[in-house]
Structure formats: structure tokens, C-alpha cells
């Protein structure tokens, strides 16, 4: 039997998560129950994993196994979502594994103030994701229409063509930037905090034409932000703009990227 190590999913306030919330939820290693490790007024949601599987060497090769990584990512999220349904949760990065419970407790005790501050910041809030897509063909058709109207139709010479082309690309880029900024500003007004992320890598996109990849920290269920999305969708429909809302998510985009162990 190999030694076990605690895999950390997230941190909540001690006492805020009824242990029964996690009943029936399996962790990334399905042979061990999830449990709470309490320290300094905080509770860490952990599940034990085998050190044989999560040692540095073993993990390196596991990460090369796409099926394993996909499954682990989804389980990680699933566990956090269970907690999110019951309380405010601070999410940790996938595959955060401590040597022992004592090491984890030492981290919690030493970082208690920082973690409490993060919990206050995201208290009672969830993250919603909003992605905006623009139908490039429709937009170009519109801009070309405007450009054609502005010339006399006899401009076949090279310089004029180049000028028109540059203007078209310029108009398009400016329009897209303005449009994305306007949407983000409108949505940010309904959020306690907001971030704009770059579009995800091609491998992670299922659609072309993403002009906005925003994350919004919203109170409760985020009804006000959802209503704003509906209004924006209607407002921009004629341009071929579409808005996708995802979530509620644990506040992944509103926790520090890094905490240093004391």
C-alpha cells in the first residue's frame, strides 16, 4: 500500500460547508473519500491521492496522458462546484498536493490572513463567464458596403485598392475593439469585479470570432448581469454579435495567482 498525500481542491470558512455536501462526490482518486482539514478558522477541501500517482516523476508522465488530464480537470471542477453550491470557496490550481496533512495545516495557519482576505473579497459571490462573438462575414459585408458607398466605383488602380483595404481593416479593428470595450464596461457595471482575459488558445475554442473573454464576480446568482447580457444581445443582434454566459463558477479569476508559503 503506497503512502497517501492530501490533494487540495479549495478552501472555505470553517463550519460553512456541511460535510454531507461532499457525500457521494469522488475526488481525482476515486478510491478515497473527500474530507475537510480544519485549521485557523479555515477548512480545506481535500481528497487523498497515492504518492505513487502524484509524485513528481509519476505526475510528469500522467500529465502527458490527455485522458487523465481531462478527467482530473473535470473532477477538480466538479468538487469545487459542489462546495460552491453551499458556500464561498477559494479555488486552488489543479494538482496542488501536500506531503502530509501537517504540511497543509502549516500552510493554512501561515497564510490564514491572506486566505481570509481572499474569502472576504469573494464572499457570497460567484464568477460568471461571458464570451462575445462577432460574425466576421456580416461585419465585413457591412463595412464593405460603407466603403463602396464612399468611392465612385472606378478605383481600379493599385494605390486606391491598397488604401481601401487598409481602411477596411482599420475600420474593422476599431469597431471590434470599441464593441468589446462597450460590452465589457456595461457588464462590469453589474459586477463587484471584472477581468478581461485574452481569447483562449485555438485548441480551446469551439467558435471563431471571439472578441471578448470576460469574467465577472457577481453577488448571488448574478441575475443583474444575466439581464444585462440579454439586453446587449438584443441591442447588437443586427451586427451578428452573440454572447455566451457560463457559470456559476468558483471565483477562479478573482483569487491571487500565487500565495507564498510562509
Amino acid at each position: 500500500v503506497s503512502a497517501l498525500a492530501p490533494y487540495l481542491y479549495g478552501v472555505v470558512r470553517a463550519g460553512s460547508l456541511p460535510p454531507a455536501t461532499l457525500d457521494g462526490t469522488r475526488g481525482v482518486d476515486p478510491s478515497h473519500e473527500l474530507r475537510l482539514v480544519e485549521e485557523a478558522g479555515l477548512a480545506a477541501i481535500v481528497g487523498d491521492v497515492s504518492r505513487d500517482d502524484f509524485g513528481e516523476e509519476a505526475l510528469r508522465s500522467r500529465l502527458a496522458d490527455p485522458t487523465w488530464l481531462e478527467r482530473t480537470a473535470l473532477v477538480h471542477e466538479e468538487v469545487l462546484e459542489r462546495a460552491l453550491a453551499a458556500t464561498t470557496v477559494v479555488p486552488f490550481r489543479i494538482c496542488t498536493v501536500y506531503r502530509t496533512d501537517d504540511d497543509l495545516r502549516a500552510f493554512m495557519a501561515g497564510s490564514a490572513e491572506q486566505l481570509a482576505a481572499v474569502l472576504r473579497r469573494v464572499d457570497g459571490a460567484v464568477e460568471l463567464g461571458v464570451k462575445a462573438y462577432l460574425d466576421d462575414e456580416r461585419l465585413c459585408a457591412m463595412l464593405v458596403g460603407a466603403a463602396a458607398a464612399a468611392t465612385d466605383g472606378s478605383g481600379r488602380d493599385y494605390l486606391l485598392q491598397r488604401a481601401r483595404e487598409r481602411r477596411l481593416e482599420h475600420d474593422r479593428a476599431r469597431f471590434v475593439a470599441d464593441c468589446a470595450a462597450a460590452i465589457h464596461d456595461r457588464l462590469s457595471a453589474e459586477a463587484a469585479d471584472a477581468v478581461r482575459n485574452p481569447p483562449p488558445p485555438h485548441e480551446l475554442s469551439h467558435r471563431d470570432g471571439m472578441i471578448l473573454n470576460g469574467a465577472y464576480l457577481v453577488p448571488g446568482e448574478g441575475g443583474a448581469l444575466r439581464a444585462a447580457v440579454t439586453a446587449l444581445r438584443r441591442h447588437y443582434a443586427h451586427l451578428g454579435l452573440d454572447l455566451e454566459v457560463t457559470g456559476p463558477w468558483p471565483p477562479f479569476n478573482f483569487v491571487p495567482r500565487e500565495l507564498s508559503a510562509p
Binding site: 496542488t96 481601401r164 480551446l204 468558483p250 495567482r257
Partner: protein, 106 residues
């Protein structure tokens, strides 16, 4: 618990699907620096893994991803190609002939 089940569940709760989960779980959330056994994923590694992940997830086609086409190692200068394609589309829209003066073979 099979990964298929999980994917089905993930998709049910998130219309944005697997990609939205990966975007967060692999790249966001607190990283602890210091006394910890394992502390990953540096971004470069992550990018490679994600590519592998999607390639094998047999979701690629469903998600409209042609990963062979978009892999810069297999394809060469992806960004430039993407830019060229966009420009070509704009040129077509504007009724212009694409100019060949920057292509090796015309």
C-alpha cells in the same frame, strides 16, 4: 466514474463545455509557492498538454477544431497564415484580387 460521464455532466451544467472548464482549472486558481511537494503547471507545459488533450479528447471534430491545421509545429507560421487568411477574406469582400507579391510561389 468514467470520463465520459464527467464530460456529459460538465456539459450539462456549462453550455460553454469542456473548454471553459479547462480554461479555468488549468490556468487559474491559487498556486502555492514554497513547501509543497508538487507545484505545476508552467504555462509552456500547459499549452503543450492542452493541445494533446484536445487532440485525443475525440471532441475535436465536434468542437469544430481541426487541431492538425492549427498546430504550429505541423503547420509552420500559424499566426501569419491566420492573418493572411483574414486579409484575403477582407480583400474578397472588398472585391480586390489578392496580391501575391509576398508569397514564395505566387
Amino acid at each position: 466514474v468514467s470520463s465520459r460521464d464527467l464530460m456529459a455532466r460538465g456539459q450539462a451544467s456549462h453550455p460553454g463545455q469542456l473548454s471553459d472548464v479547462l480554461e479555468r482549472v488549468l490556468d487559474k486558481g491559487i498556486v502555492v509557492a514554497g513547501d509543497i511537494q508538487i507545484n505545476l503547471l508552467d504555462i509552456e507545459l500547459l499549452t503543450v498538454r492542452v493541445r494533446l488533450l484536445i487532440a485525443s479528447a475525440d471532441k475535436a471534430r465536434e468542437m469544430g477544431i481541426d487541431w492538425w491545421e492549427s498546430d504550429p509545429f505541423l503547420r509552420g507560421h500559424r499566426d501569419r497564415d491566420g492573418l493572411d487568411q483574414r486579409l484575403r477574406r477582407l480583400e474578397e469582400r472588398a472585391g480586390l484580387e489578392p496580391d501575391d507579391d509576398d508569397g514564395p510561389a505566387g
